[in-house]
Amino acid sequence: MSVADPAAATPATSEKASGRWDHLRQALRSGTFLVGLVIVLFWVFCAIFGTEIVPYDPYADDLLNALMPPSREHWFGTDQLGRDVFSRVIVGARDILTIAPLATLISTILGAALGLAMGYFRGIIDESISRIVDALLALPTVIVALLALVALGPSSITVVCVIGFTFAPIIARTVRAGVLAERELEYVFAAQLRRENALHVMFVEILPNVLPPLLVEATVRLGYAIFAVASLSFIGFGIQPPSPDWGLSISANYGLIGAGYWWTVLFDGAAIATLVVAVNLAADGLQGALDE
């Protein structure tokens, strides 16, 4: 990661920080980042304006035209209720692109706060939070989420909170590593000598300097949040019907693929795959720019 080597760090921290932001500007010129960004923006556009641009109502049944293969009228065919798959795939971006970014936002804020506290205070606070983090990380996200969703009942808000809380420790780890290197630097001593309180030093002095790795980690987490939400929806514990969500549509239709109705699942699958891969490419581009 982009943790600065304390020995090599220069006293002029502001220069170093601005240097890192230059790297991020560089990311805009990297190929993988741009490809990822364009695909993500496409799906964001579909999520926002999808209902306005699709040819059919994604919720409207048309039983006379059920399970029609792709044709000029229905580009992606129709599902078992005769709903237009193309319209559903476009509008299906909406729920997952609301829930996953919200979950990522919660985990980033919570994780940053935790990581700052762990790295800055160290000692007993760091030790005890680390143990809880280890215990949480010993369970796969999908299983933690399943447990919490059974206990609290499946709902979108629960999904957001559960994924937000389970990802927070991972973000906290990244931030903690950054803070451990930063807290030895002279600008932190200077702030402490000015008798600034701990909150000020953590959030005003240190936080801006660990923002770039935090941003990369948050982008990576966004990819995994989409992964987790889609997986949970697929097993019935995530987004609930009648949403045209991709994971949900696959779970409703995959029993039919043995009979050859491939278009009811393949386009939804492609949508999930392009979105997660695009987010991941963007994250990789950011990371690459930071490492340079």
Binding site: A138, I143, L147, V150, F227, A230, S231, V277, D284
Partner: protein
């Protein structure tokens, strides 16, 4: 070494204990009235109370926890609400099934991942390195059910090479079982390939760049000998711990894969228990998964220490 071992094992125990508290809280405290959750909102109040009394869920929380964990520690995992039978045998069968699936996946992915990482590192910066990295990275993030669906369509429905159900006939021999497990294991391979290849690549790059490799090359050893005897040994150390750490994520993926392929493993068991609100089964399944992961990462650390003399002799980390 002994000190390191004891400290590491102690930390694992603390992790396990915290895990048990979290699982207990998730399955027995959060749902509130368990009897009500199981019987539904319209059930008679007396029936709910009777069920709570029968299951012991009307006792104080701490008593329930102490009772549950002390029984669990000696292997008594309680009775399933859904099957009205002890959880243990169900869990054991499921674990054996999952172990078979996981084993097939591991046997495929470990050589593939390490090979991919080595190829990438030896071609550092060339297009093949970039392609392997981007493909590995992308395969890692695509959900198992998406790649699983595509694989079922291609190999199960269109080409008809592989069976689309992971459950084999009752009297199936070894090769038939492996044949049925091939398709479900590929999505897991895709997820893990990227991680293992990335670690192997990073280890290789570091080892190739080191002084001892330069010395070996400068004293005129053939490239093949340098790579086999000097680079690989050092490069693959971190990869070992990643492989062990990935077991938990493998099990997380099993929930999805076993649902998709109708396979009765630990993931399928956890999913069924969650759907039926079978809390004892759910608790036992989840805690077992956590325990397996904690043990696996303990083993990974110990193995790492054993293979790495700098830790073995108690020097700096």
């Amino acid at each position: 070494m002994i000190g390191f071992l004891l400290k590491r094992a102690g930390l694992s125990l603390v992790t396990l204990w915290l895990l048990s508290v979290m699982v207990f809280a998730g399955a027995q405290v959060l749902p509130g009235n368990i009897g009500r959750a199981m019987l539904g909102p319209f059930a008679d109040e007396r029936a709910v109370e009777a069920l709570n009394h029968e299951m012991g869920t009307d006792r104080p929380v701490l008593v329930q926890y102490a009772d549950w964990i002390s029984r669990f520690a000696v292997g008594d995992m309680g009775n399933s609400y859904a099957y009205r039978a002890p959880v243990g045998p169900f869990l054991f069968t499921a674990l054996v099934n999952s172990a078979k699936l996981a084993l097939v996946a591991f046997l495929l992915v470990v050589p593939l991942g390490i090979f991919g990482g080595i190829v990438a590192a030896l071609n550092l910066g060339r297009p093949i390195d970039r392609i392997l990295t981007v493909v590995g990275l992308s395969a890692t993030i695509v959900p198992e059910f998406v790649s699983g669906i595509v694989l079922i369509l291609i190999f199960g429905v269109w080409l008809q090479w592989l069976p689309i159900s992971a459950t084999w006939p009752a009297d199936a021999g070894f090769s038939t079982q492996v044949y049925h497990l091939l398709l479900p294991s590929i999505p897991l391979v895709l997820i893990l390939f990227g991680y293992i290849a990335r670690m192997a690549r990073a280890g290789m790059v570091e080892a190739l760049d080191s002084d001892y490799t330069r010395t070996a090359i400068l004293k005129g050893l053939p490239r093949r000998t340098v790579i086999w005897r000097h680079v690989l040994r050092n490069a693959l150390l971190p990869t070992i711990s990643v492989i062990a750490t990935q077991t938990a994520y493998l099990i997380g993926g099993l929930v999805i894969i076993e649902t998709l392929f109708h396979y009765q493993g630990i993931g399928g068991l956890i999913f069924t228990a969650a759907s039926k609100k079978d809390f004892p089964m759910l608790q036992a399944g989840v805690l077992t998964v956590g325990a397996i992961f904690t043990l696996a990462s303990l083993c990974a650390d110990l193995l790492y220490a054993l293979l790495n003399p700098r830790i073995r002799v108690g020097g700096r980390e």
